[in-house]
């Protein structure tokens, strides 16, 4: 790690960011070593970044399945634990069971989706990170690490691509 440097380049224009990412790739910086930070979401295809396999839908589905099973237990399981037969009615009637099972399935889906976002994004995380408040003011940042010997050359290239500022960022608590 001692022979690498972390560099932040701030841009105004997404086109310049996409071009700079291409140039950085051509210089041997892998997508894994680059992070784009912005105050507005730019889809991966806009910046020419690789699509990321997303676990969130599976986490949501797992939560929905847990909610569904909880619904089945409460509606169908608890009457069996303490059966009360009333007026010849079914002990486990299907229509009311469907209503509550549906609600609990949705609750499981919603809670697990929220927890999934926290898990996937490693939130909350207040420790020091490379960041610049200018990023919330409309700038787009490319944060990357590169070999020390390439640093000057890459800085020049990024400025030529339209970077407003290229610098060594500091880790700051968020």
């Amino acid at each position: 790690m001692s022979d690498t440097k972390v560099i932040m380049a701030l841009f105004k224009d997404p086109d310049a960011v996409a071009n700079s990412l291409d140039k950085l790739r051509a210089e041997g910086i892998s997508d894994h070593d680059m992070v784009v930070i912005s105050g507005v979401p730019y889809p991966a295809q806009v910046l020419g970044r690789p699509m990321v396999w997303e676990k969130l839908p599976w986490i949501s589905l797992t939560g929905a399945a847990i909610g569904f099973m909880t619904g089945i237990f409460l509606n169908a399981g608890t009457p069996l634990l303490y059966p009360i037969h009333v007026g010849g009615q079914a002990l486990i009637p299907i229509p009311p069971t469907a209503v509550l099972t549906y609600e609990l399935t949705m609750m499981g889906l919603i809670i697990s989706t929220f927890l999934g976002v926290l898990w996937e994004s490693a939130f909350p995380s207040f420790g020091p990170k490379y960041y610049d408040p200018a990023l919330t003011h409309g700038r787009i940042g490319i944060l990357f690490q590169c070999p020390t010997q390439n640093e000057d050359e890459l800085q020049e290239m990024l400025k030529a691509q339209g970077a407003e500022r290229v610098y060594h960022p500091e880790r700051r608590p968020l």
């Binding site: 992070v35 784009v36 930070i37 912005s38 105050g39 507005v40 979401p41 730019y42 889809p43 991966a44 806009v46 910046l47 970044r49 990321v52 997303e54 969130l56 839908p57 949501s60 409460l74 509606n75 608890t78 009457p79 634990l81 303490y82 009637p93 009311p96 069971t97 209503v99 509550l100 549906y102 609600e103 609990l104 949705m106 609750m107 889906l109 919603i110 809670i111 989706t113 929220f114 999934g116 976002v117 926290l118 996937e120 994004s121 939130f123 909350p124 995380s125 207040f126 420790g127 990170k129 960041y131 408040p133 990023l135 919330t136 003011h137 409309g138 968020l174």
Partner: protein, 477 residues
């Protein structure tokens, strides 16, 4: 070419090119300025604001501490509910506030799914209404319970006799549906708020910065964070819409599942949901007009947004009228004796003035005014119409809940219902609590999702087609 044609034929007049800068998404300003407008509005708390807060706080104390405490001390006898009207103002308020809670989800989730671009600056303010109105609505079953402390009997755990709650009761469905909706809408409010909280964290100081730091969870705005957030918002949007429909449908089933004439109706589900969206969106407009005026958010909240929302109100007024008439006609045509009594009660009985006022507020005024673009864009006009709609919708719930209970199949058991001062004070207290929560939250929570507005501004451009400059939208999703 156009001027030549016009010269040859004087009756041909080319319209002046539209000024597109009236559209927020075609009128971008520097990001610093947009953040400044919002943060300044949040930090502006003058004497008038604190007088309002003190006044509302006093009403909350009188209603929700004094009057409710009095009822808990002396029992439900202090309320006006007695045979045959056992559901009074509390259940009316419950249904009304659940209806208001449909505002946020409808505007935010449904319009997001359909990519209605005008939603962008108004989603947060309406989602906040959903959360607070659900909190107020959730209070009413507790108030109506009388022995509020026995609420835990509804919680699904076996008591010492190994007895579980009856999950097949519509009242149990209510509790779980409201919890699901409250959790869902609160998380749906919070998730898109994170980037704006991070923005506020970066540009405030003192206690605000500490607060925003905690709730922004360490957000930086990396691609991965945005990707997870956007995906989660999409999942939420699709999940919360059916939950929204289910909540008010289940509330309607509290009535529909009974054997009571006037209530036992298969149309009550969609009728209640339509009414809820009608009143919810109207309430959003009322609140947005007040927010724009009091917080000076004219840049974000523009005539175009109220114009679009006004059209929605008109459409939902049509839809509500359709369901109302379908329900009314079925009862009228059926000719069942008690049903006829209910119709007479509305048309010529003690509730007739309220019933006609409801028809005026929900049908006549919206139909006569909202077709007009100038009314939809007028602050005063739209404020009066939307406030009227909520008066009308409250009356509708009051008549369905309390009016219908005064008549049943046993004429000796007919009665009247007059709410007591305790019920009225609790109702005023809860309304004040809603306004108070909203007023305080408006000074802490960024009411406009600036990142969504900026995202919209990036994807909107003017494109020349033929001789006209036409707004066009790039689908960035």
């Amino acid at each position: 070419m156009s001027s030549e044609s016009a010269a040859q034929n004087p009756s041909l007049v080319w319209p002046e090119e539209e000024d597109h800068s009236e559209h927020l998404l075609l009128d971008p300003r520097p990001v610093e300025e947009m953040h400044g407008i919002l943060l300044d509005a949040m930090q502006r708390t003058g004497r008038g604001f604190w007088i309002l807060v003190s006044f509302l706080g006093s009403l909350v104390l009188i209603g929700l501490v004094g009057a409710w405490g009095f009822q808990i001390r002396w029992g439900m006898g202090v309320a006006g509910i007695r045979r045959p009207v056992f559901w009074g103002l509390y259940i009316t308020n419950f249904v009304f506030w659940i209806g208001i809670s449909h505002s946020g989800t409808f505007i935010s989730a449904i319009l997001r799914i359909f990519k209605a671009e005008f939603r962008r600056p108004i989603t947060r303010a309406s989602e906040l209404m959903t959360t607070f109105s659900l909190l107020v609505a959730g209070m009413y079953p507790l108030i109506h319970l009388g022995r509020t402390w026995r609420f835990y009997w509804m919680v699904p755990y076996p008591n010492q006799r190994q007895l579980w709650p009856n999950f097949h009761s519509p009242l149990m469905w209510d509790m779980l549906a409201i919890f699901t909706y409250l959790i869902g809408s609160t998380l749906y409010l919070f998730l898109p708020l994170i980037p704006d909280l991070a923005m506020a964290r970066d540009h405030t100081k003192g206690w605000r910065q500490k607060l925003y730091r905690i709730f922004s969870l360490g957000w930086r705005g990396t691609e991965a964070e945005w990707h997870h957030l956007k995906l989660a918002i999409t999942i939420f949007a699709f999940a919360i819409v059916p939950v929204m429909f289910s909540v008010h449908t289940i509330v309607s089933w509290d009535f529909g599942m009974t054997m009571k004439v006037g209530w036992s109706s298969s149309i009550f589900g969609p009728y209640f949901v339509t009414g809820a969206i009608f009143s919810g969106v109207s309430a959003v407009i009322t609140v947005l007009l007040l927010v724009r005026k009091s917080m000076k958010l004219d840049y974000f909240l523009r005539a175009e947004h109220f114009d679009s929302l006004g059209k929605l109100i008109l459409v939902f007024s049509f839809a509500w009228t359709y369901f109302f008439f379908a329900d009314y006609l079925t009862e009228w045509y059926g000719g069942e004796a008690v049903g006829q009594q209910l119709l007479t009660l509305q048309a010529r009985g003690p509730v007739a003035p309220l019933w006609y006022l409801m028809l005026v507020c929900n049908i006549a005024i919206p139909w006569l005014t909202l077709w007009n673009r100038r009314v939809r864009r007028s602050t005063v006009g739209l404020f009066v119409v939307t406030l009227g709609v909520n008066v009308g919708m409250y009356i509708e719930r009051y008549i369905i809940v309390t009016g219908f209970l005064t008549r049943n199949r046993l004429p000796f058991d007919w009665g009247v219902y007059n709410p007591t001062i305790v019920e009225v004070l609790i109702s005023i207290g809860s309304l004040s609590a809603f306004i108070l929560f909203y007023a305080l939250a408006s000074r802490i929570i960024p009411l406009v999702p600036v990142w969504e507005v900026r995202e919209g501004q990036i994807s909107h451009t003017l494109r020349r087609i033929g001789r006209a400059m036409v707004p066009s939208v790039a689908d960035l999703d």
